[in-house]
Amino acid sequence: MIQTPDATSLHDKMNVVDLDVFYGNFQAIKKGNLAVPDHRVMALIGPSGCGKSTFIRALNRMHDLTPGARVEGTITLDGTDIYAPDIDPVTVRHRIGMVFQRPNPFPKSIFENVVYGPKIHGEKNAKRLLEIAEKSLRAAALWDEVKDRLNRSALDLSGGQQQRLCIARVLAVEPEVILMDEPASALDPIATSKIEDLIGELKKKYTVIIVTHSMQQAARISDFTTFFLLGELIEVGTTSDIFTRPKDKRTEDYITGRYG
């Protein structure tokens, strides 16, 4: 179901202005500009190596951890520049959570995985932690499958369950934006459809930005779509416009399968 939201009336949760990302001398993102509407799902599509993952990792300052990576330009969250010198990247990542391509639960129990975030942010009350764990696992549609074995290792879960656990782990820190870097690419079709259903639920409370290599997935789950090519943001629009009335020839070629 493609929704057709009215873009002009939406508040912009994040704003990217003239973003350049370099790895050493290689420029992976060239002058990227993007407004991300609040409480919507924004899909980033494009052929492999076009810079989608690089772009999304700039949004919560993950490039700070990569030696040799350099980010220039402005990215704002509710109007605040997240790369300003007085901004602590730790607080940025608290507000902007991330789900990775491969499920990456910690080698700890299911419970410890979910409450990892709240614990490092200072929550010590055992009862409160249990509440957070249940709430987050329910929100990630995993509670019923794991409620009897919260103390078992998270590594015993299936890939799809692990990925939903990772989503629960992100929800537990109560972020405002959730970044997803091809969250279903390592999963089978059934696990994928569960994740997609979940994303539909998540946008009620969060702003979701998702990288996907599957155009069908983008069409199914997103409100807006951005098309990337060779490090450039070619076209941004409502998902229905991008897929039915692309303005740029390159977008059209990609959508219709003539490219990449």
Binding site: N60, P67, V90, H94, F100, P107, G117, C166, R169
Partner: protein, 307 residues
């Protein structure tokens, strides 16, 4: 058999005509490699067997816990065994904090750059210093300059210098074995680097880390050259065999083995040497076994998976 030959012949005609000679070369190679690997095991078995054969008859309660004798037969190695453990523990107390912190810094904090290269280069250079040179350095500093004379503390500090690089490397490698995805996951949840290291990286690395510590301990336990001129080649007579004063002379088992062969006046020096060698070898082997068992158990406990 005839069938097999026939099949070989027919496959030879199907495949290239050098298939047979290639197969023979392959068999010879496999056999040679197996022999090389097997000889490692054989050497160990022969070595242990020989030491047991020579030394087992010497082992007794009195030998293991008794006092060494300076002139008569029947001396024991009690204080030496104690000193070996005492110096080992002292050394670990000095080595572990510095080495683990330095390794942690290099692996988790330092980006590529001059300072990391400098630390790495210093550690590698330090690692190549022969233990006897380190022993003479200890002699100059702790024994002569500080006027400590031969002491357990001087020996332990010398061993600290000797083993710091190895321990640092062990730490680095244990941390490097932790998947980068754990770091990413932790940092993306808003953890600081320190929280990530303490709550995710270290628990995941604890198995290899402990294994490394125990293996280095085995080396410390068997070290001789660095101790002869720092901790001394005699025990503090007239006091208890279990002398906790770090400023007393403290001959270890390995040094005792050396000194009984070199300068002992006792008539049963050979027997004592054989017995000491056996005890030393068994202890060091035990360290290796313990390293494996404990490392595996801790990995399972902390990560819920066998590795």
């Amino acid at each position: 058999m005839a069938q097999a030959v026939a099949r070989v012949a027919s496959s030879d005609t199907l495949a290239s005509n050098n298939a047979r000679s290639r197969r023979i070369v392959d068999r010879i190679a496999t056999g040679s490699l197996w022999t090389a690997a097997g000889s490692v095991v054989a050497l160990l078995v022969i070595f242990i067997g020989y030491l047991f054969y020579k030394g087992a008859s010497v082992i007794s309660w009195h030998f293991l816990f008794g006092y060494p004798s300076s002139a008569n037969a029947g001396g024991g190695i009690g204080p030496e065994i104690f000193n070996s453990f005492y110096i080992l523990i002292l050394t670990l107390v000095f080595t572990l904090p510095i080495a683990v912190c330095a390794g942690m810094y290099l692996q988790e904090y330092a980006g590529p750059g001059r300072f990391r290269d400098l630390v790495q280069f210093s550690a590698e250079s330090l690692a190549t210093v022969p233990s006897i040179v380190m022993g003479l350095f200890g002699l100059l500093i702790f024994v002569q300059m500080f006027h400590w004379h031969f002491t357990a503390l001087g020996g332990a500090l010398t061993l600290t210098l000797l083993n710091l690089p190895a321990m640092m490397r062990v730490t680095q490698e244990a941390l490097a074995g932790v998947p980068g995805t754990y770091r990413e996951a932790s940092m993306s949840l808003g953890a600081t680097r320190w929280q990530t290291v303490v709550k995710v990286i270290l628990p995941s690395a604890i198995g290899p880390l402990i294994t490394g510590v125990v293996l280095v301990s085995g080396r410390i336990f068997g070290e001789t050259a660095a101790l002869i001129y720092t901790a001394g080649a005699s025990v503090s007579f007239g006091k208890s065999a279990y002398d906790f004063n770090p400023f007393h002379t403290a001959e270890t088992l390995a040094v005792h083995l050396y000194s009984t062969h070199r300068e002992a006046l006792v008539p049963d020096a050979d027997a004592i040497g054989n017995g000491s060698a056996l005890v030393l070898l068994v202890m060091v082997l035990l360290f290796n076994v313990v390293a494996r068992v404990v490392g595996r158990q801790l990995t399972i406990r902390f990560t819920g998976k066998a590795s």
